[in-house]
């Protein structure tokens, strides 16, 4: 097992001892959300500013089913994944027709359309008040209504999601997406239909967002309107860039930092987004690869120093 996996498993075990269970759970949910975004952002080079579309749509559908159906949890998760993937297929199909700034604006504009639909459709979504009263039914004897049990459930979902994403980015598909990111013209010239592959990245990323959305609805028992709004879309981009979009684990680290800051520091200090802003500026100016790169550089610096020390004695 690689060191990254050992670190992840250690974090899964230690986290609920260090922070409130709800925060710990939210971190892994946000990490799943970030994994989905980063397939687009980091691997395909597409800045989607509308990931909350898929997150929120799945959260509403999942929340609605749990409220009214008494449906099996796994089935709800599966449906959430499907809703995320299908909404991403529809949105992605339109967005991949354009590139650059127009692409980004399309993801944003379509997100706004979904947001206003949710805002207006109060009979289902509750509009501004959100969709409250979402239960967490038991699953295979695990009483998910208990915070720790739900944490374990979400952490397991995350580990599975990470394993799948690792497989995706290491598969030929991962290489093809990176090739498209690096040079779309050449990727086409060697035989890849760039639009089709970008759409595929959307669909996979949307599925991850959908899973995260349903887990989020279950965590708080409510789907707030923001769950489908541009602030959520921005947060996941923010978190992923801070963690580092250049690696598989970047968004996981980003989720950690982002949720921890927003949930812990915000209690002490109302203006915490300022801190986040500063962190973001530092990343963009000095560590384009996010915290992952900062860590790499620190490790290199440290080992060079140690070697020098050895050489001098």
């Amino acid at each position: 097992m690689s060191r990254a996996w050992i670190a992840i498993l250690a974090a899964v075990v230690l986290l609920p001892m260090l922070v409130r269970h709800a925060i710990a759970t939210e971190i892994w949910i946000f990490a799943i959300f970030g994994l989905g975004l980063n397939l687009l952002l980091g691997y395909t080079g597409l800045l989607s500013f509308g990931q909350a579309t898929f997150f929120g749509s799945a959260a509403y559908v999942g929340g609605y089913l749990l409220k009214h159906g008494g449906v099996n949890v796994l089935l709800v998760l599966a449906l959430g994944i499907v809703v995320g993937a299908v909404s991403a297929a529809a949105v992605g199909y339109l967005c991949v027709q354009r590139s650059g700034l127009y692409f980004i604006m399309l993801t944003f504009a379509l997100n706004q359309m979904f947001y206003f639909t949710a805002y207006q459709w109060t009979s289902v979504t509750g509009g501004e008040d959100g969709m409250p009263g979402i239960p967490r039914p038991a699953f295979l004897g695990l009483r998910l209504s208990e915070p720790l049990a739900y944490y374990v459930f979400v952490a397991a979902c995350f580990v599975i999601a990470l394993g799948i994403m690792k497989r995706v980015v290491e598969s030929p598909l991962g290489k093809i997406l990176q090739a498209i990111r690096e040079n779309e013209v050449r990727a086409q010239a060697i035989g890849y239909d760039a639009r089709r592959f970008k759409l595929l990245a959307f669909v996979i990323g949307g599925a991850f967002s959908g899973l995260a959305g349903v887990l989020y609805a279950m965590l708080f028992g409510i789907v707030p309107l923001e769950a489908i709004g541009f602030v959520f879309s921005g947060n996941v981009v923010f978190g992923t860039l801070i963690g580092g979009s250049g690696s598989l684990y970047g968004p996981v680290i980003g989720a950690f930092v982002f949720i921890w800051l927003s949930e812990s520091v915000s209690v002490i200090w109302q203006r915490w987004p300022l801190l986040l802003g500063v962190a973001f500026v530092i990343v963009v100016l000095f560590f384009r690869g996010g915290l992952v790169e900062a860590w790499d550089r620190l490790a290199t610096w440290w080992s060079v120093r140690r070697l020098r020390g050895v050489a001098e004695t």
Binding site: E170, P172, K175, Q178, A179, V185, R186, Q188, A189, D193
Partner: protein, 249 residues
């Protein structure tokens, strides 16, 4: 039968006719060169052949099949590969991956595959073979962006070769190379001769004259002459239009 045939292919950009009623036939197994001064329309002609842009009029036939206006990703699957005049690789990917994605593109029998990319030994072997062919075998693990300009030109060629194409279009493979590197590149292209059907764009006359089976001369978008290297050298109009003082009479 000609593997590639164009019939009155024309491309205009506004008032400019970059390619003007070009009719060309490339025989299977030959090395067919296209020469002409800068701006003659050679690269534009390649862009039409590989679907980067549709011709304004005319037809393009590959192996008897009309491929006019077919998009690049389909052209690649028909067995036409090209290298670019301006290096056009995947900078952040490793040298091996640059070639590997080209090999994989042409071997889709497995669908997309769920296996990690490094567990396709046959494809990796073919990619390494293409790198070996251009002399980049020892650089497989480096990032493409770390290569020198000369090495990037070699990689450019390896990506095209990786597709195992029936028709290879090479757009000034020696562009920007030193005399020494140019000699190596010429030797490389000479080594490909006979194994591939090649259309070579080049404007260094000495290279063209020693390597080509046939030569077409392009000038202001039009073909003004075609023949064996020896015939082209004797051709009066070509000498006036292009060769000038380059080749001693």
């Amino acid at each position: 039968m000609a593997l590639l045939r164009t019939e009155d292919v024309t491309k205009t950009f506004g008032a400019l006719t970059a390619v003007n009623r070009v009719t060309l036939a490339v025989e299977e197994g030959t090395l067919h060169s296209i020469i002409g001064p800068n701006g003659a329309g050679k690269t534009t002609l390649f862009n039409l052949l590989t679907g980067q842009a549709p011709p304004t009029s005319g037809r393009i036939l590959f192996d008897g099949r009309d491929i006019t206006g077919t998009p690049p990703q389909r052209i690649a699957h028909l067995g036409i590969a090209r290298s670019f005049q301006r290096t056009n690789v995947f900078p952040a990917l490793s040298v091996l991956d640059n070639v590997w994605v080209a090999v994989f593109a042409r071997s889709r029998r497995r669908g997309l595959g769920w296996r990690p990319a490094d567990r396709y030994p046959d494809l990796t072997e073919r990619a390494l073979a293409a790198l070996g062919e251009v002399g980049l075998g020892d650089n497989a693990r480096r990032a493409a962006r770390e290569l020198s300009h000369g090495e990037q030109r070699q990689l450019e060629l390896a990506i095209a070769l990786a597709a195992a194409p029936r028709l290879l279009l090479l757009d000034e493979p020696a562009a920007g190379l030193s005399p020494d590197e140019t000699r190596k590149m010429v030797a490389l292209v000479r080594g490909l001769k006979g194994r591939y059907t090649i259309v070579l764009i080049e404007h260094k006359m000495d290279i063209i004259m020693t390597i080509s089976d046939r030569v077409s001369v392009m000038h202001f978008g039009s073909l003004i002459a075609e023949g064996t290297p020896a015939e082209i050298q004797r051709h009066a109009e070509v000498r006036r239009a292009y060769l000038g003082g380059i080749v001693a009479p």
